[in-house]
């Protein structure tokens, strides 16, 4: 290991090259990852602000902030922004871009220019989505169901064109990752020596490549329907609106696994690292990612139990939906078993990982409930569904994303954040989240339909409780924005390996130099060989110098 004086002279990817142009034209995956991170965090706060406004409106059944039409536009925007502009690119394009080549010991992704193009395509698509707000905000819900989406006067075309363009950005990232994982692994890294995050990203990328084109053609058809009146989804012209739903969910169901699979990858990394224990069941976790990707393509019809598809189709889709529970269960059991008798240290990433386990379990179980045909007919289009997917997407993916942000933050920016504030915030978010969404399970079971502007008085106590929860949640994220910003400017300097992890992104400098590693890396230990190699993380070193603690490695 080279000494600290020599390595300190090497500029990090943040320092060299300099200038705004060097960022806008960069092909460095780390910079592109940071640019993605900035963009998605912006939209996360926009989408989150919309959510807080919506919940405030729902505090009482009568009008508080806005009329019913504006409300329809707000929930559509909240959904569309959160899904297409935040959650789908969140882990793969932002964190994945940064971390994947580092984990593989590669200098970059396979197609760096395509990677940059994907960011610009994302921004371009986002402009169309944002433009739709000005041109007449869409009020169809994020699913753009026909026939309403072909008849409403709002700017469906701008929004769907934006989503169509965003799809290409997602495809570019997925394609890039598959090739990178196949072709750019360091010498010695066989498939089963890859970190589980890489397996998660690989399964995600497969879905991105296979499912997104179908969404693209669906949206093209929807635009054609609006512009040329082709009639394919219009029953009055011999078309079929249910065909639209089939097309839409053929993408959008697998897409929910685009959202969760990379999150599961992060959880695998974080739990192994902070339990200081070799991950239990490496291969089952790896294969179950592919298993989820495989099953994800065969269950889309469970969104359409009440849409008029045939009963036999509904029964088959219901049956197949239960299969999703198997690989998901395998993962959860393996994570918990990894923690069992591990030496657990509850730093912020681990706190979020444990929150993930708790919330994802609830989200997953209620998903199985909704997949049960008879129960779904009762719960379809109620707040129960809303609560379920927020538990999976926010309680699952967003918690995993936050775990990842806190885990890799020192590597990305070379600084530590306030551990105390981070833990307090995690608690606030946990409390706020459960207040907001657990009450919605009860509301839904009592029959409160989703997307309604007003409601019966009997629902007011729970709606009010949920709204207060949303405010708590909002406060949590504001605190997070504050302490992360503070860390960015004057946080304590981080060493190369704060948490004592064994994956290869921690083997290089913090923050990494432009080409990732100072010399070509070769795999010398597996990603979870905590039983063979002892590394003390420099986070645990209280002395102010950032000397490396990797000398203990044998």
């Amino acid at each position: 290991m080279s000494n600290a004086a020599a390595t300190a002279a090497v500029p990090s990817y943040l320092q060299e090259p300099k200038g705004i142009k060097s960022w806008l034209l960069t092909v460095d995956h780390k910079r592109i990852g940071i640019m993605y991170l900035a963009a998605i965090m912006f939209f996360f706060f926009v989408g989150g602000a919309l959510a807080v406004i919506l919940r405030t409106e729902l505090f009482r059944p009568e009008q508080i902030l806005m009329d019913a039409d504006t409300y329809n536009q707000f929930f559509t925007l909240h959904g569309a922004i959160m899904i297409f502009l935040f959650i789908i690119p969140s882990i793969p394009a932002a964190l994945g871009n940064f971390i994947l080549p580092l984990m593989l010991g590669a200098k970059d992704v396979a197609f760096p220019r395509l990677n940059l193009a994907s960011w610009y395509v994302y921004v371009f698509g986002a402009i169309f989505c944002v433009a739709s707000i000005v041109l007449g905000a869409v009020d169809t819900g994020w699913t753009f169901y026909t026939p309403y989406s072909t008849t409403t006067s709002t700017s469906v075309i701008s929004m769907t064109l934006g989503v169509f363009i965003l799809g290409f950005s997602s495809i570019f990232t997925g394609l890039n990752f598959i090739v990178t994982i196949h072709k750019l692994r360091m010498p010695g890294m066989t498939w089963f020596k890859m970190p589980l995050m890489v397996w998660g990203l690989y399964a995600t990328a497969i879905i991105q490549v296979l499912a997104t084109p179908v969404l693209a053609i669906t949206l093209v058809l929807l635009i054609m329907e609006r512009v040329l009146g082709v009639g394919i989804f219009d029953p009055a012209m011999g078309g079929d609106p249910v065909l639209y739903q089939h097309f839409f969910w053929f993408y959008s169901h697998p897409a929910v696994y685009i959202m969760i699979l990379p999150g599961m990858g992060i959880i695998s990394e974080v739990i192994a690292c902070f339990s200081h224990r070799k991950i239990f069941g490496y291969k089952p976790i790896a294969y179950s990612s592919l298993g989820i990707a495989f099953v994800s393509f065969m269950v889309w019809g469970h969104h359409m139990f009440t849409s008029g598809q045939s009963e036999i189709a509904a029964m088959i889709f219901s049956f197949l939906t239960f299969f999703v529970g198997i690989p998901s269960g395998i993962k959860v059991f393996n994570w918990v078993t990894t923690m069992y008798k591990g030496s657990i240290s509850l730093e912020t990433p681990m706190v979020y990982a444990v929150m993930f386990l708790f919330l994802f379990m609830i989200g997953g179980f209620t998903g199985i409930m909704l997949g049960a045909l008879a129960l779904d007919v009762h719960l379809h289009d109620t707040y129960f569904v809303v609560a379920h997917f927020h538990y999976v997407m926010m309680g699952g993916t967003v918690m995993a994303f936050l775990a990842g942000i806190h885990y890799w933050w020192p590597k990305m920016f070379g600084r530590l954040y306030s551990e105390r504030w981070a833990k307090v915030t995690a608690l606030v978010i946990f409390v706020g989240f459960n207040m907001t969404f657990f009450s919605q399970f009860i509301l839904g079971a009592q029959g409160m339909p989703r997307r309604y502007y007003s409601y019966l008085d009997q629902y007011q106590p729970l709606h009010g409780f949920s709204s207060v929860g949303a405010w708590v949640l909002g406060i949590g994220f504001v605190i997070m924005a504050v302490y992360l910003t503070a860390s960015f400017f004057n946080g304590r300097k981080a060493g190369p390996n704060p948490w004592g992890a064994l994956t290869y992104e921690w083997e290089t400098l913090t923050p990494p130099p432009q080409h990732n590693f100072l010399k070509d890396v070769v795999l010398t230990h597996g990603p979870y060989d905590y039983d063979k190699v002892t590394v003390v993380g420099d986070f645990y070193d209280k002395s102010p110098t950032d000397k490396q603690h990797m000398a203990g490695k044998v």
């Binding site: 760096p112 084109p213 093209v220 009146g229 009639g231 394919i232 097309f247 010399k519």
Partner: protein
Amino acid sequence: MATSHTETHHPNWLQHHFSSPFQQGESSKLGMWLFLLTEVLFFGGLFCAYAVFNAWYPETFINAHKSLSWPLGATNTIVLIASSVTMALAIRSMQLGSKKGTLILLWSTMALAAVFLVIKYFEYSHKFHLGQLPGEYYTYEGIAGTNPHIFFSVYFMMTGLHGIHVIAGMIVIGWMIYRTSQDHFSSDYYTPIEMTGLYWHLVDLVWIFLFPMFYLIG
């Protein structure tokens, strides 16, 4: 910092993050095949729509397909297959290091693609003239069966999307002609031409499915 490669193994077309030409070439190929996979799924949605409406309105489809001219469709099929041959030969030519041969064959591919589009133009304008247009613009009255406009909706969207791919292919081939003329390629390095070939074969292949589906049913 010192790289592990010597200059002789690091030609100027090898990108910095690859360690060997082989690794770069293999990555390009895998990436291209994945892209073609997305194209197949992109068209897949329309093939699915075709299957649904063909099953719902079989008589309409049989009656409506008679208004398509199969000799023109067959000519176009032959034209596109010929263009695939010239494309493949262009790659072969660059493998053998012949710049002149490659340019001639790429221009031939371009010319055949143009012939395809010209024939398609005549077919389209004839249908526009008759009012055999998609969806609510359909005004023709000579086809028996329910919802004949759906047939033309599907027809125009599938062949139209294919036509856009032909145009995109011509642009890429034009770019390859430019790069070949600028001596960017050699018998050691011709990956972009090869990738263009893969794309062009897919465009050809889609048409080979479209031709019987629309021109030869019933």
